[in-house]
Amino acid sequence: MRILVVGLDCAAPELLLGEELPNLRRLMAAGVYGSLESVVPPITVPAWMCMATSQDPGSLGVYGFRNRVDHSYLRMETADSRWFRAPTIWDQIAMEGGRSILVGVPPSYPPRRMNGLRVGCFLTPDPATHVFTHPPELGERIRALVGSYPVDVKHFRTEDKHRLHREILEMTRIHFEVVGHLLATEPWDFFHFVEIGLDRIHHGFWKHHDTRHRHHDPGNPFREVIRDYYRLLDHEIGVLLEALDERTLVLVVSDHGARALDGGFCINEWLMEEGFLVLRSRPRDVTSFDKLDVDWSRTRAWSSGGYYARVFLNVRGREPDGAVAREDYEAVREDLVARLEATVDDRGRLLGTRAFRPEAIYARVEGIAPDLIVHFGELAWRAIGGVGYGRIHVQENDTGPDDCNHAQLGAFVLAGPGVPEGGELGGARLLDVAPTLLGAAGYDVPASMQGTNLLPGVSLGPGLELPPGTTLRPPPPPPDSDHLVRERLKGLGYLG
């Protein structure tokens, strides 16, 4: 049995499962589907690797795109493929002799060796100048097929919406062409593809689409861009499905959902206001955190921004110029949690902010974790790391126009031989994906995996033993009855 995973970065359950997408609907009717609870934080890196390893971000030691690599104040590095060493689905399948193809599964730069093929994700610097595939010569084949291969669109936080739209569509077309080609011409047991275009189109066009967005303009020309893109994905998925045989397990899945962004919460401004962060001099203009003149000896906490906030405590003996005594650590953190969870929006309403302690939500805490991970208003507000706005709530974003944030719930649809027509499956978590796929396809599940198999009764195995009562191929439809033959043909006027 083979496994095809179509990963749609940022696919929102209300759209993926709620819109009338005929190929998705057919899969839903044939299998199980539902929303899929992502990890904290629900961010592309590390979420796809959490899915592949069935380990939470703490266990992987990766808490977002950028992570601290030591206890100095400003040094953060972007997690790349080398950061991840935990056994993945494809590692397990390779151990059992299977071959995998990964296209765009983040992070996949630099391309690591594996039993099979790998095509780089959007974190690849430039496919024209950098090796973006394993083996490297696969890159040449792809160029021969589609010309230059875009791993991402340029500057998706832009006001040039026409350019962005055109580039996303073109990129997606090329991705699916390459995937379709590899799917049909290469041997594989596990095929995992992630399309990043959906994330980009959400970030670029959400306010145009979402009538409840603060800045929605009902007359805007981009209203249907997002829905049309889902229809395009559905069509492309239909084309991929056509090329499959009936011995393939198909999973369409997202790493997190999407939601309207109400604004930015200036976390460092707020920490200053609350007395946790002290500057020697206030900047006159908006200034990123790493350019600020921080008085570290009097600073107890600082934060880095993004879709969520990573708050770090300045701990004596841990940070170079620590201001929080070890014995006060918990009390200070407690105080911060209480204050963060009491934050309000620009209209004075309680935000519903959650501040997570890593050790409370992760099985293990590896690497250098933030002391608190903060979701403002269930991610209705993003965290702004810069200072100089002169206020806590802003509508502008320090990294460019963006009107969407991630949502905790992604979505999945799973169908294939042996998967029951089970309808909606509640309570599925992103960490359950790998054990479910491995289990259903008859592979061993590594002990390191933290999720549970959602379909414990289903196991077809590489040898395709069928569980009792199931058949691989549905019984052939009854032969067309004569009246149907007449009905179909007699509309031809020549026969009337």
């Binding site: 190929n23 043909l489 009337g496």
Partner: protein, 615 residues
């Protein structure tokens, strides 16, 4: 490259005899000017002279033995059942998508151009469902089914009890309550389990009897329609379980309210969300709908069934035909307006349908009048349509410059259809076909060859084109040994040729050919074993085409479907006009793909059976 653009306007069934007569009378000014400035020829068509066969030969530049389209209908040798000969639907397993498969083989000219980097826009070319990818845009034509998966089945809602369903329709007898309301439904796709998807309809007749309000809760529309009028296209939706639904387009015509006579067209694929792809790129149909509004997508969308079954009158049919002409014209304007280079093709199907239905008004003694005097009302409709086609040409000429080659072509001409030939009856009378013991030919033999005694049958007729052998190893109960097939084909063809109509004392069949004499190519084995070339006025009977075994070999054609063209191809050539002089006056459909390639500077190859007409 000799031209930047090639524009091909197809007018289905435009007959050279009629066109020449009108031009001789000073009419059809645009076509006449083309003939003068460029050239004109009668255009040799295919055997059989049939839309899907002929246009496929146009596109592929090869005989039907290469492209594999021999007739609207084919048959399944495992069941002896007739089936659509243009496409097939299949599903490998329940969670994989069902898909449509185009049965036309060979490489159409736009795919040849695509390989050379030249793009095309192809509107409604037959046998393009489902579309294959190429450089350009395509909206599929003849061959696109309705949501029921066939050529089109309409519905007729009436309060008149006991009304019998005609051909390709469902008659639904409804009862109005005291408020003049009734609830009924449209049928959508059938499911493999045998159920049909339904979409409920609520009808409300107004107290004055002048109109009906049609509401469709699942489609979200509510539409009033007055007596004698069509609704515009309305969207309907067929729910399938909790998750899935299929959307379609339908039009209604209200013939009267007492008794209620409400006609519903076949439910067509919605170009926004077609059941199977009908365009390339896949969302091109949706783009057209957004720009131009909803349009007919069914392969043969003109409501000829409504008129042959007597559910709508000629006026209503004509009105709907005009709507389709205008939908197509809007597409033509849009695409000619934005096209800069390459091939443009647009087929106007409607002239063919008009001639099928209105032919009888040209002939006072046509059997379809059943002895009644010729009504005066519809006698000029066909000529008027030729004038309309000429105006379309005039409009297209506005987009034609020196660097544009314009071709105006039809796939076949037209003839009368007065006498039906019950081919299975002839096979029965001549000892090639046997019925089960005790079954009499005629009504008792039913249809679909159900009463045929296969163990004693060497040949049978299905479809419009010819005769099949009951071949051992191919047919489920085949009896003819493979080594005897060749001589049997020749023998039957020989005997069918010159077959005489005793009533008229003239040959009804000019000649018949064993298939190896008619075609060559990889798909030869899919062809009927024997092909017939009827004399004008004759055609395989509708009943025989569906596997009936008639009580006699001949009968009068009494139906409103009174003109046809599935006769000896030399009697029904098409037309070809070009805006540049071309070689000779013996042009063939086969020559047009090479001509297009030549005009655009793309080399052909040995698979092309014709040659360029350009000097």
């Amino acid at each position: 490259m000799r031209y930047r653009k090639v524009v091909v306007l197809g007018f289905d069934g435009l007959d050279p005899g009629l066109a020449e007569t009108l031009m001789a009378g000073g009419e059809l000014p645009n076509l006449a000017r083309l003939r003068e400035d460029g050239g004109y020829s009668r255009l040799a068509t295919t055997l059989p002279a049939q839309t899907p066969v002929a246009w496929s030969t146009f596109a592929v530049g090869a005989n039907p033995g290469v492209h594999g389209i021999f007739d609207f209908l084919s048959r399944d040798p495992a069941t002896y059942l007739p089936q659509v000969g243009l496409y097939r639907h299949e599903q490998k397993s329940r969670f994989l998508p069902p898909r449509a498969v185009n049965l036309r083989g060979g490489t159409p000219v736009w795919e040849r151009l695509s390989k050379a980097g030249v793009s095309s826009t192809i509107l409604r070319h037959p046998c393009t469902y489902p579309p294959a990818p190429f450089k350009g845009r395509l909206l599929a034509g003849v061959g696109v089914p309705d949501l029921r998966g066939g050529f089109g089945s309409s519905a007729f809602f009436t309060t008149e009890p006991g009304l019998r369903a005609g051909e390709g329709e469902r008659v639904v007898v409804v009862e109005l309550d005291a408020e003049g309301r009734a609830t009924t439904h449209l049928l959508g796709p059938g499911l493999p389990q045998g159920d049909d998807l339904r979409s409920s309809l609520e009808l409300e007749v107004d107290p004055g009897g002048q109109s009906v309000i049609i509401s469709c809760p699942d489609g979200g529309f509510s539409h009033p329609v007055r007596v004698g009028e069509w609704t515009p296209w309305v969207h309907v939706r067929f729910k399938h379980g909790l998750l899935q639904s299929v959307r379609g387009l339908v039009r209604f015509f209200l013939g009267g309210t007492d008794p209620l006579q409400l006609f519903a067209s076949p439910v067509q694929f919605d170009p926004q969300v077609p059941l199977f792809p009908i365009s390339h790129p896949w969302d091109y149909g949706a783009e057209l709908e957004r720009v131009l509004g909803p349009f007919a997508t069914l392969g043969m969308a003109e409501e000829h069934n409504g008129v042959t079954n007597g559910r709508i009158d000629e006026g209503a049919f004509l009105a709907q035909c005009f709507d389709i002409m205008h939908e197509r014209l809007a597409m033509m304007r849009l695409e000619l307006g934005r096209m800069e280079r390459g091939l443009f093709y647009c087929l106007f199907d409607t002239p063919d349908r008009i001639q099928h239905i209105f032919w009888r008004f040209r002939e006072p003694d046509h059997p379809a009048h059943r002895g009644e005097p010729l009504p005066q009302e519809w006698t000029r409709v066909i000529e008027d349509y030729y004038r309309l086609c000429d105006e379309v040409v005039g409009e297209a000429l506005e987009y034609v410059d020196d660097a544009t080659l314009l071709m105006v072509a039809s796939d076949h001409g037209f003839a009368s259809f007065r006498r039906e030939v019950h081919l299975n009856a002839w096979l029965l009378e001549n000892g090639y076909l046997s019925l089960r013991y005790g079954v009499e030919p005629g009504e008792g033999a039913g249809d679909l060859l159900r009463e045929v005694d296969w163990g004693r049958t060497r040949a049978y007729a299905l479809g419009l084109a010819g005769v099949y052998l009951n071949l051992r190893g191919r047919e489920a109960e085949g009896v003819v040994p493979v080594e005897a097939a060749g001589s049997l084909r020749a023998e039957i063809a020989e005997r069918l040729g010159g077959m005489e109509d005793p009533l008229r004392g003239k040959a009804a069949v000019r000649y018949a050919l064993p298939r190896e004499k008619a075609y060559s190519g990889a798909r030869l084995d899919d062809a009927p074993d024997i092909l017939l070339a009827y004399a004008p006025g004759y055609r395989t009977s509708s009943a025989a085409a569906m596997g009936g075994v008639g009580a006699g070999v001949f009968s009068d054609n009494l139906r409103r479907w009174s003109g046809d063209h599935i006769v000896d191809p030399s009697a029904v050539p098409g037309i070809l006009f070009m805006n540049a002089p071309f070689l000779g006056d013996q042009a063939r459909l086969l020559d047009l793909a090479p001509t297009i390639l030549d005009a655009l500077g793309v080399p052909g190859d040995g698979a092309l059976e014709g040659g360029s007409l350009l000097p």
